[in-house]
């Protein structure tokens, strides 16, 4: 029964629950009773042995301790220590190199990913309006005036020749003269005028000409829409470009329907 009291006291002692007076009494008890002292020591050691946080805190004074200390000063142990150090130098240096590689691996990987994304971007991202204009903005599909009556054909041929000779200003003057007097076949001449204005970078005027074509009751009035679209593309007016392309794609028979659809899908 007395032993069980030891346990109760030891438990409170190890938990630090004793009052200073109780502590003094318990320490005196341990001095008086070596068995109690051993019980307390064993309890403490058990706690430390099982714990994942505490370790044996007391200084060891056993005879064996002195033997062990001498062992750690003996040549064979010191040689082994030296050998371990050499292996550690190699092993940890290798690890260090690995970590160095790791250190550079991330920026290297990031650079590769960036490069890859750039490549992918080049091939997959939406081209700019400028790039699309380079692709679609051709002003060479001019009409031919071969089958026309002689006089008119002469004027139209002149317009055609002037345009093909890059005499855009003169082409516009001759075209205006024709349009002011003619009553038929104005669409093709307007096309030359519009094209010449585009070549002279008079885009607003060109747009007006193409608009007139698109609003006419000519059979190829839809050509006006396509040329308007090209001007919007050239001037990078995305909003009007898309609106115009939508008008073209509204009817399959419209001029350049497929191209307009393709361009619209690219933009969207």
């Amino acid at each position: 029964m007395e032993d069980f009291l030891w346990e109760l006291k030891t438990e409170r002692f190890l938990k630090g629950e004793m009052t200073p007076e109780e502590l003094l009494d318990f320490e005196q008890e341990q001095k008086d009773q070596p068995e109690l002292k051993e019980y307390v020591t064993l309890s403490k050691q058990l706690q430390q042995a099982i714990s994942e946080k505490d370790w044996f805190a007391h200084k060891n004074t056993s005879k064996h301790y002195h033997t062990v200390q001498k062992w750690y000063q003996e040549v064979d142990v010191l040689d082994f220590k030296e050998k371990l150090q050499q292996h550690a130098d190699t092993a940890f240096e290798t690890e260090k190199k690995t970590f160095t590689l790791k250190k550079y691996w991330f920026p290297l990987a990031a650079a590769c990913i960036a490069l890859l994304l750039t490549i992918v971007y080049q091939f997959t991202t939406q081209p700019t309006l400028d790039e699309l204009y380079t692709q679609y903005g051709t002003w060479n599909d001019t009409p031919s005036f071969i089958v026309q009556d002689q006089n008119t054909t002469d004027i139209k041929e002149k317009i055609e020749l002037l345009y093909k000779n890059s005499e855009y200003q003169k082409c516009i003057l001759v075209a205006d003269r024709f349009l002011n007097s003619a009553t038929t076949d104005k669409t093709n001449v307007r096309i030359y005028k519009g094209f010449s204005l585009v070549q002279l970078h008079q885009n607003s005027e060109a747009l007006q000409v193409f608009k007139t074509i698109s609003e006419s009751d000519a059979i190829d009035a839809s050509k006006g829409l396509w040329y308007m679209a090209l001007v919007y593309l050239k001037t990078e007016d995305a909003k009007n470009l898309q609106e115009t392309l939508k008008k073209i794609t509204a009817l399959k028979t419209n001029y350049k329907y497929s191209e307009a659809l393709e361009l619209l899908e690219t933009l969207e």
Binding site: D3, F4, E7, K15, E38, Y39, T41, L42, S43, Q45, L46, Q47, A49, I50, S51, E52, K53, D54, W55, F56, A57, H58, K59, N60, T61, S62, K63, H64, Y65, H66, V68, Q69, K70, W71, Y72, Q73, D76, V77, D79, F80, K81, E82, K83, L84, Q85, H87, A88, T90, A91, F92
Partner: protein
């Protein structure tokens, strides 16, 4: 010769290939444990070096018998870290150090042997005793222990814990190693 015995022999002989493999195989487990328990890589390396040296001395000088070389090496390193972190001291192993590390290493060496003795005897107890001792050391209340292990009341649990503990201490005291390791 078993694989474990072969490991021990090569380790004690300082077999270069074995030691090289040992670093590659065993170090990262120790490092992971120490990093997880608030240590650094540098501390992990120091602990591993100390652990290997203590294990060498235990095996060669004490002729310690161990059943699993890898597991025991980890245990030694783990305990060395618990000692270091509980004492808030960091001992660095350095071949060119002028500080004599033998007192610290000898202390840990003895403590590791004490730890072996306590663990071994605890594990040899019956399951109920083992459990109740572990629960009391984990500071689980007797009320909870009583409920968990189905004792009639709290006092019965306390009495049982005491009997188990007494039995364990008697086993430890009866072991020849106890007198060798016991403080004078």
């Amino acid at each position: 010769m078993t694989e474990n015995e072969d490991c021990i022999r090569k380790f004690i002989d300082g077999d270069a290939a074995f030691l090289k493999q040992l670093y590659a195989k065993n170090y990262f487990g120790v490092e992971a444990y120490i990093l997880k328990n608030s240590g650094t890589k540098e501390q992990a390396r120091d602990v591993f070096q100390h652990g290997l040296l203590v294990l060498y001395t235990l095996l060669k000088k004490e002729k310690l018998q161990i059943s699993n070389f890898d597991n025991y090496l980890f245990t030694v390193c783990k305990n060395f870290w618990i000692k270091q972190s509980s004492q808030n001291s960091v001992t660095k192993l350095n071949t060119v150090t002028l500080v004599d590390e033998s007192p610290d290493l000898a202390s840990f060496h003895i403590e590791q042997l004490q730890w072996n003795l306590f663990k071994e005897k605890l594990e040899s107890l019956k399951e109920t005793c083992k459990t109740i001792i572990k629960l009391t050391l984990a500071k689980v209340s007797y009320a909870e222990i009583s409920k968990k292990l189905k004792f009639s009341n709290e006092n019965a649990a306390r009495q049982k814990a005491f009997r188990c503990k007494t039995k364990l201490f008697k086993m430890i005291q009866a072991d020849v190693r106890f007198k060798k390791l016991k403080n004078n």
